[in-house]
């Protein structure tokens, strides 16, 4: 193809303005990168989930019960709509893990020799336990990794009151435990909670459940009605202490994975949309200003007989060079980062294989949006340039009709130096230009906030939860409810300085047709170690005459203060009760319902009974206390607040920190790119005027002050506006984000504001330095020689 002179001009000028072209390309690239990175991560997780579930036969329905004869399973298999039933024995045990001070919690799950049909276990290494071997287990790979447990290692366990040594013969994972977390927890603690698969016969024998099962997984036939099957299952299992069958929506791992996928999908839509929109808008502004500085060349081309369309196409290509470079970089780097982020999800979610997916349609959309914005920006400027008769366009733009502007008339002018007045005047005379520049800075600031607020919010949430609300050192959970006197056993342990007991009852809340299953917690009034605080840190007290609900729960079941809740207690004979809603509290974490512990005991029609206790202990004796608790058969688990917090913060750093850092980096690049371009363009727009001032005797310093003064004013205006726009975006994201597990509070710390402002100011300074160099080279003779 022949390279026309016009294309040569294009390439050469693109090269000469490479600083600007690169920064524009980077803005485009960052917008596209955000889309590619976030969308691909979210789509890949979703695809991996589907593939995993299908390949490893994830069950559709689940139920736990106290005990039922194995013969019942066959009858359950005959229910219409049931394709397969897998009866199991599931047992929560305390573990003594080598290298871990505190006891860990284990969940023993029975498997037939060769592995189960449903919720199939993917063996990472090793083999399945041999038949009848009660001392062999396959452990979950997350637990194995967290505790560096290898094949052949042994773990101590209290199984049904007996001390056993379990040898690890295999390491595996299952679709049932993609997110491996113990009941009631939100974040996984893979050091202290793990799944262990044991031979069915051996586990049944150890648990005293020979010939029985206490848990089932069910696979539905194609086209079956899950609700009908659930009703049918409940009818069969009612007499066996079932807590009610439930579908995948209430299966903990699936629920959290699905919520994560959903919030990923939302943030993978909202955040890139904001980034892309901001990048596109900035691109529009930058290109339209860039083209405007070429006004005279446009006129010359017109004089030679180039048509408006040819000229338009020329500048369009100019814009497209930047977009093409940006799109290539954005897609490439975005794909790479997407893979990287996806791998990080392995810390949270256990998948045998993650499939990386990029929706090329979305990538194409993102590129099209960028290109569209660039094209519109360039064309709108070209259009205004070609609309003028060439004779007129060839002259420099007519001096703007001067009058003292609003700002000057307000009297500020009098207190300013002549240079100050010039700065104000030039902003005042081109208010549109100044406003657009300030808006560009503001948008750059706003995405910096979008990139970094999440870290603030989550840190705040963790701090609130683990330092202000939870103040216990240890939480002890009994394996069955105990008489209230059990508290003395704990209080008598050496080093325990305070014991506050709680009662926890599994219930199903019903209001109309909506219901949720959760733990109703009974706390002592005036509790010190576990307080109920709302997001404004206002303390709530448990009530004796009703239940206190967290806001999310109240919203889900659709009740408010004074309404009556219908609740079915999923313990013992499963009685049903009615309770008024005594209060609703804005909590950030989980679905919670609280009562005064005595009132809860009365509701249960039981003597004072406790499920566990919060302890304050002497730090120096923590290890000894752990050792003792580990060996107490009545104790199902011990959790240390410190560990949970550390674990939470570790996960936060591992995962959130990286993606947030990348976002902030992108936002920073966009901010710098835009501000740098703003200053460069300001220089070319004002070059002649500034050079003329030099001719008149102004020093280099003085003209620099004028140019930077404008830029500084624009930046200073943009920063607070950016904070407001940023908060608006953040609010929009949070609104889309809230799910049942947590509600992220709108918290933006002053250091985040400061950070955003500093990035903007640094970008302005950096641009200023580069422009200053050019300012020093302004050609005075050229200015005198050309143009009137």
């Amino acid at each position: 193809m022949r390279v026309t002179a016009l294309n040569r001009k294009l390439l050469r000028e693109a090269w000469r303005a490479r600083g600007q072209m690169i920064s524009i390309a980077l803005v485009v690239a960052c917008g596209i990168m955000t889309v590619v990175m976030m969308r691909s991560t979210s789509e890949s997780l979703a695809a991996s989930q589907i593939a995993y579930y299908r390949q490893y036969q994830f069950a559709d329905l689940f139920a736990s019960l106290v005990r039922a004869p194995t013969s019942l399973a066959a009858r359950l298999g005959e229910i219409e709509g049931v394709a397969a039933v897998d009866p199991r024995v599931v047992l929560e045990v305390n573990l003594d893990v080598p290298g871990l001070d505190e006891p860990a919690q284990g969940r023993l799950v029975s498997i037939p020799p060769g592995g189960p049909r449903l919720n199939r276990v993917h063996l990472v290494e090793g083999r399945f336990p041999e038949a009848n071997r009660g001392d062999e287990v396959v452990i979950s790979s997350a637990f194995s990794n967290a505790n560096s447990l290898e094949l052949g290692a042994t773990i101590g366990a209290v199984v049904n009151g007996r001390w056993e040594r379990l040898r690890i013969v295999g390491i595996g994972m299952s679709p049932e435990y993609v997110y491996e977390v113990s009941a009631g927890q939100i974040f996984p603690d893979n050091r202290r909670f793990g799944i262990l698969w044991m031979d069915r016969t051996a586990l049944a024998a150890a648990a005293g459940m020979t010939g029985s099962f206490n848990d089932i997984a069910v696979r539905l036939a194609r086209g079956a009605n899950p609700d009908a099957v659930i009703d049918e299952l409940d009818r069969f299992l009612e007499g066996y202490g079932s807590l009610g069958a439930y579908d995948r929506d209430r299966q903990l791992s699936h629920r959290i994975l699905t919520d994560e996928l959903e919030s990923n999908r939302i943030s993978g839509t909202v955040i890139p949309a904001i980034f892309l929109a901001v990048a596109a808008f900035l691109l529009h502004i930058v290109l339209s200003r860039l083209v405007r500085t070429q006004r005279e060349q446009i006129a010359v081309l017109k004089a030679f007989g180039y048509s408006n369309i040819e000229i338009g196409r020329h500048f369009l290509h100019f814009a497209l060079v930047a977009v093409v470079i940006g799109a290539l970089v954005g897609t490439g780097v975005g794909t790479w980062l997407g893979r990287l982020l996806l791998e990080l999800y392995r810390d949270f979610f256990q998948f045998p294989q993650l499939y990386y997916r990029v929706s090329w349609f979305l990538v194409a959309m993102a590129i099209a949006v960028s290109a569209g914005a660039a094209v519109l920006g360039a064309l709108s400027a070209v259009r205004s340039a070609v609309r003028l008769p060439p004779a007129e366009a060839m002259r420099p733009e007519a001096p703007t009709h001067f009058r003292p502007g609003l700002i000057e008339r307000s009297g500020i002018g009098r207190i300013l130096s002549p240079i100050g007045r010039m700065i104000i005047r030039s902003l005042d005379r081109q208010p549109m230009r100044a406003a657009l520049s300030a808006l560009a800075v503001a948008l750059a600031i706003s995405i910096l906030l979008v990139g970094s607020f999440m870290f603030d919010a989550v840190s705040y949430m963790a701090d609130l939860q683990f330092r202000t609300i939870q103040r216990e050192d240890l939480t002890v959970l009994f394996n069955t409810p105990k008489e209230a006197s059990a508290r003395h056993d704990l209080a008598n342990l050496e080093g325990v300085s305070r014991v506050e007991v709680f009662r926890s009852v599994p219930v199903r809340l019903d209001a109309g047709h909506r219901s949720r299953q959760l733990a109703l917690t009974g706390l002592g009034s005036g509790s010190q170690l576990r307080r109920i605080l709302d997001t404004d840190l206002i303390r709530y007290e448990v009530a004796e005459d009703g239940v206190l609900l967290s806001r999310m729960l109240a919203d889900i079941v659709g009740v408010s203060v004074g309404d009556t809740l219908h609740l079915k207690i999923l313990e013992g004979r499963q009685p049903e009760r009615r309770l008024p809603v005594a209060g609703v509290v804005e909590e950030t974490l989980g679905l919670n319902a609280y009562m005064e512990i005595g009132a809860l005991n009365r509701l249960m029609r039981e003597a004072p009974t406790i499920s566990g206790a919060y302890l304050r202990v002497d730090e120096r004796q923590r290890t000894e206390i752990f050792e003792r608790l580990k060996r107490m058969p009545a104790i199902a688990g011990v959790a240390a607040r410190e560990n949970v917090l550390e674990n939470f913060e570790f996960q936060l750093e591992q995962n959130l920190l990286l993606s947030m850092t990348i976002l902030v980096l992108f936002a920073g690049v966009i901010a710098v790119g835009v501000i740098y371009n703003g200053a460069r363009i300001a220089l070319s727009e004002r070059g002649r005027e500034l050079a003329s001032l030099r001719v008149l005797g102004f020093t280099k310093r003085e003209i620099a002050v004028i140019l930077f003064g404008e830029q500084t004013t624009v930046t200073a205006l943009g920063i607070p506006i950016g904070f407001l726009i940023g908060l608006f975006f953040v609010r929009a994201i949070l609104g889309a984000f809230a799910n049942e597990n947590y509600r992220i509070p709108l918290v933006v710390t002053s250091s985040t504001y400061a950070f955003a402002a500093i990035v903007a100011i640094s970008a302005a300074l950096f641009a200023g330095l580069l422009v200053r160099r050019r300012l020093n080279r302004l050609d005075l003779i050229e200015v005198l020689k050309t143009r009137e």
Binding site: R12, F304, G305
Partner: protein, 252 residues
């Protein structure tokens, strides 16, 4: 104006009427509005340009000569009056037709050369030959103005006189029907200016291109076949030189 839409009817190479006029402007006026000030740049001018002639439009700054040239070149439109180019009406042409007209028929030379700084001499000429219908090669055009050896230099590497010669090469490379020069020596010293004028004269004589040169510099009028003097938006004087001077003889 339907016939102007068909460029072939506008070539002028074989005009239907065997007239000798390239331009025939009648009663031209042009009023500019500069903010609140009204500038009457042309106040009813009748003007002709003949085939093959070298015409100098003489006038002080603000006399209206640039306005007239811009209108003739299709860079501007008159407020009233008509301009015929080879018997076609320019004043009724729309933007696309004027673009076509400039592309096919007019060569421009500006006071400040208006070269594209990012393109070499050759490429600046190519900018025009790329879109012209029957151009000569850029190299040939640059030879004609005596710039063969500097063909790959960028404008910044050329002197003012050389830049202006590139501009002339660029204007003639399309073989225009008319060459319009706006103060071509205005930014040059007198010896360089002479050289540029010689190039214009040579082109006029060798290619027979009708050429209009506007200047405020009265001595230059000596080289013209015909001189039109403008004053304050009206024609003050028209006269013919029976013995046009050679550019080398002109001193200013």
């Amino acid at each position: 104006m339907a016939n102007l839409r068909q460029p072939d009817r506008l070539t002028g190479r074989s005009p239907g009427v065997e007239g000798s006029q390239i331009f025939e402007a009648r009663n031209l006026t042009k009023v500019y509005h500069m903010g609140e000030v009204e500038v009457r740049a042309l106040r009813g001018i009748d003007f002709d340009l003949e085939r093959g002639e070298l015409l100098v439009l003489l006038g002080a700054s603000g006399s209206g000569k640039s306005t007239l040239l811009n209108i003739l070149g299709g860079l501007d439109i008159p407020t009233s009056g008509t301009v015929q180019f080879l018997n076609q009406d320019l004043t009724a042409a729309d933007d696309a037709e004027l673009t076509r007209y400039r592309r096919d028929h007019v060569g421009f030379v500006f006071q400040f050369y208006n070269l594209i700084p990012s393109l070499t001499a050759r490429e600046n000429v190519a900018l025009v030959t790329d879109i012209a219908r029957d151009p000569i090669r850029p190299e040939e055009a640059l030879e004609l103005v005596g710039l063969g050896p500097r063909i790959d230099h960028f404008p910044a590497q050329l002197s003012g006189g050389e830049q202006q010669r590139v501009a002339i090469a660029r204007a003639i490379a399309k073989q225009p029907d008319v060459l319009l020069c706006d103060e071509p020596t205005g930014a040059l010293d007198s010896s360089t200016g002479q050289l540029v004028l010689k190039v214009l004269k040579d082109v006029n004589q060798q290619l027979g291109t009708a050429t209009a040169v506007i200047t405020h510099n009265a001595p230059i009028a000596a080289m013209a076949d015909r001189v039109v003097r403008l004053h304050d938006g009206t024609i003050a004087d028209v006269y013919r030189n029976d013995q046009p001077a050679a550019p080398e003889e002109i001193e200013w």
